[in-house]
Symmetry: C2
Subunit: 437 residues, 2 copies
């Protein structure tokens, strides 16, 4: 039998796992220092949950299956529906605002391509129960805090911010019918990807040439231009004030230089209701690194009360490509290392060597013995130079050599950095360790 | 829409996630200090991989599905087949012995019951390419190193060790036909669970009453008794010497008091070939906490060369029940905590408060502001006592109060443990932080 892995999945050999852990451990660390606490849900849920709320693209990419009780289930393609379900189940008991993060493994039946796999990891952070734009700003701060920590500067990435509320107000203000809003969003979402004339004719098809012209005019305006020249009404003014407040918070938080207003940011999912954003690499040939926004209706749609919410997701695939391109991945992966490598000089010290190794491990030190010294293999003698080479290969900081000095209770400790070595009584050695901790 | 979770899965609310992380983070820490490196595979593989090699019980509990290309896939019920596939793919490039660990999420379509869920996490460690029993002993040491670290003593748990090689040698020695070995293993595996007469009649059914009697006699012997009184042949002597060497290593490693020989340990899976073991709670009403052993043929069965291997798996469900029973779970979960809680005394210091919070986070400190102070909510004033209460609720070690002193660059730092507070220039405060790191 010779079975392969499934296309679009990844094997994480130790060097790949080290990269994945570097990315995900920092997601956790940054979430925690920004005040988020971790949650997780099951890897599969009822299929209906995703069919009804995940938007057409995700719903078409489900790995669905039937269990033996005839229930239709699916591997999770995103975690937001699980989050909504879990929060709704305890909505009255949970103190607000809820600031939660998760690093779920997700699966989508996509055609594998650059930056998209059928199995990936996605950092999610969400703030539930807080309607001020300070929460939207904090979500963006947390995402940038991570990307900055990993070494990406405002010359590498840009946070593009817009507002579904502003878009809706502008579109309504110029007379786009309510039932056309969602189909117009879908076109606006493609503004930067489509040639100007295709964009224009798609819009004209939906709302006629006059409204299409006004929408195109809006798409060309800067934020300051919008603040002063757009024909205002209460709805537009509120939406602009919210964006201005958000921008003010981001500046005070020290990340104003990472952020720009960009009305072409719409986000594919239907559930967004306010501020929306994406983070892109400035060279711009990759998909979005991260995207999110406010979704004040989702918990209610999932059978709960109307509770405001805002959040974001960042996948590992595009991020890993970008970090690799920028030279920020492998330099952050630490090489092999261990605290102690234990060497018995001959077979009579084998027992002492495994005993010492076990003690060191129990005390929290990464300690390794060589299988070459196993006392049962008396057909070949251990050779010190070979064992020292093995110690270097595993990145040992120090070797402990157990030789005839051990008969008077002495160990030889060799510093592998400078090659120096000293004899020390076993008891003093362990007393010294206690002080290190 | 009001959708529930699927029965047999778990929602990890933050307090549940903290317990899961406590268990799994320590799995990782102990693996690393014992010299193992982490790997992982995909959450799904080709169905055929599990149908052919996982043993009947697991093969009957697969969550299988078809992808859009018509390929039959399954969510992984165990990670050993993936390990065999991955190691075989790079068998010549990987230095031996391979010491790998993983903490995979696994799914089995079982009927949910105490200690068994349809989704769980399982610590796996494996040593590949080393045939001495030192490797078997190191696997057991690593498992015990974890259980000891978490607070379980030799009064709580016992490692029960046997040998498939010894069982085979004994059974062959008394004349059990080769083709009966596997069905006799299945019965021996139930030795402690069946009444004596049921056990006896099951054996008699397979091998006749005379052989059944000899097997029952063997099952009653102590290890020392076996060493001296069993009718010996070369195969039995080799197997006994291996067990004796293993026991010697475990004693030298300081965990002899955790270990006993127990010939009723057989392990369900067909692929074991040498030393096998299980770890049980001494009260004995739970399923095995952990099980493993040597499986020298598996890589070859998966299309690779013949390479020796030994390893073990420990699930989170039984372990969590035991830790909870022993009072070792929640005492190890740290309470809410944060480094700094930032309080602006009135709205004019709101900007300074979010700016300071963002700076502290960037420097690695967990820092929280209150949404009650958001500058946009000018309809209600922030009340210091309420904010201090919020700071206590999130476990703040210190509060930074920004008041009128800030106009001359001063912060007020309040120690939440003893209630003391001091004024400090912002610059001096940040200089002090740098020294802390």
């Amino acid at each position: 039998m010779n079975i392969q892995s499934v296309k679009g999945t990844r094997d994480f050999y130790p060097e790949d796992m080290a990269r994945r852990n570097f990315i995900a451990d920092l997601w956790k660390k940054v979430s925690i220092r920004n005040g988020f606490v971790e949650y997780d849900g099951p890897i599969f849920e009822y299929l209906a949950m995703y069919q009804q709320k995940s938007g057409d693209e995700i719903a078409s990419q489900l790995f669905a299956f039937e269990d033996r009780g005839g229930r239709m289930l699916a591997i999770r393609p995103e975690i937001t529906p699980t989050l909504a379900r879990m929060v709704n189940q305890r909505i009255n008991a949970l103190p607000k605002p809820i600031k939660w993060f998760s690093v779920p493994r997700l699966c989508r039946a996509e055609r594998p391509q650059k930056g998209r796999l059928r199995e990936f990891f996605q950092w999610n952070i969400d703030i539930i129960g807080e309607d001020s734009v300070l929460a939207d700003a904090e979500v963006i701060l947390t995402a940038v805090d991570y990307l900055r920590e990993v070494g990406l500067t405002s010359n590498d990435i840009k946070v593009k911010i817009s507002s579904r509320k502003l878009l809706a107000a502008i579109l309504r203000g110029i007379g786009v019918p309510e039932e056309k809003l969602n189909s117009v969003y879908v076109i606006l979402d493609k503004f930067t990807k489509l040639p100007a004339d295709t964009f224009s004719s798609l819009l004209t098809e939906q709302v006629g040439s006059e409204l299409a012209g006004q929408i195109i005019e809006f798409m060309g305006k800067s934020f300051n231009n919008l603040l002063t020249t757009t024909k205002q009404n209460k709805e537009i003014e509120d939406a602009l004030a919210e964006l201005a407040n958000c921008r003010h918070c981001l500046e005070e938080m020290g990340i104003g230089n990472y952020c720009v207003f960009d009305q072409s940011i719409v986000r594919g999912l239907a559930y967004y209701t306010g501020i929306v954003f994406e983070i892109h690499d400035i060279q711009g040939d990759l998909r979005a690194i991260c995207g999110g926004g406010r979704y004040d209706n989702l918990l209610h749609d999932f059978g709960g009360p109307k509770v405001s919410a805002t959040g974001m997701g960042m996948g590992d695939c595009v991020l890993e490509i970008l970090l690799r391109e920028k030279g920020l991945l492998d330099k952050n992966i630490s090489a092999n290392s261990c605290d102690y490598f234990i060497i018995p000089i001959n077979y009579s010290y084998f027992d002492a060597s495994i005993s010492l190794t076990a003690k060191l491990r129990q005390k929290g030190f990464k300690s390794i013995f060589s299988y070459k010294t196993a006392g049962f293999k008396r057909d070949e003698s251990p050779v010190l130079s070979k064992l020292l080479k093995e110690a270097s290969a595993v990145g040992a900081a120090k070797c402990i050599i157990i030789g005839d000095e051990y008969q008077t209770g002495q160990l030889v400790v060799k510093n592998m950095t400078d090659g120096s070595q000293q004899n020390i009584a076993e008891k003093d050695f362990f007393d010294g360790l206690r002080q290190q901790r």
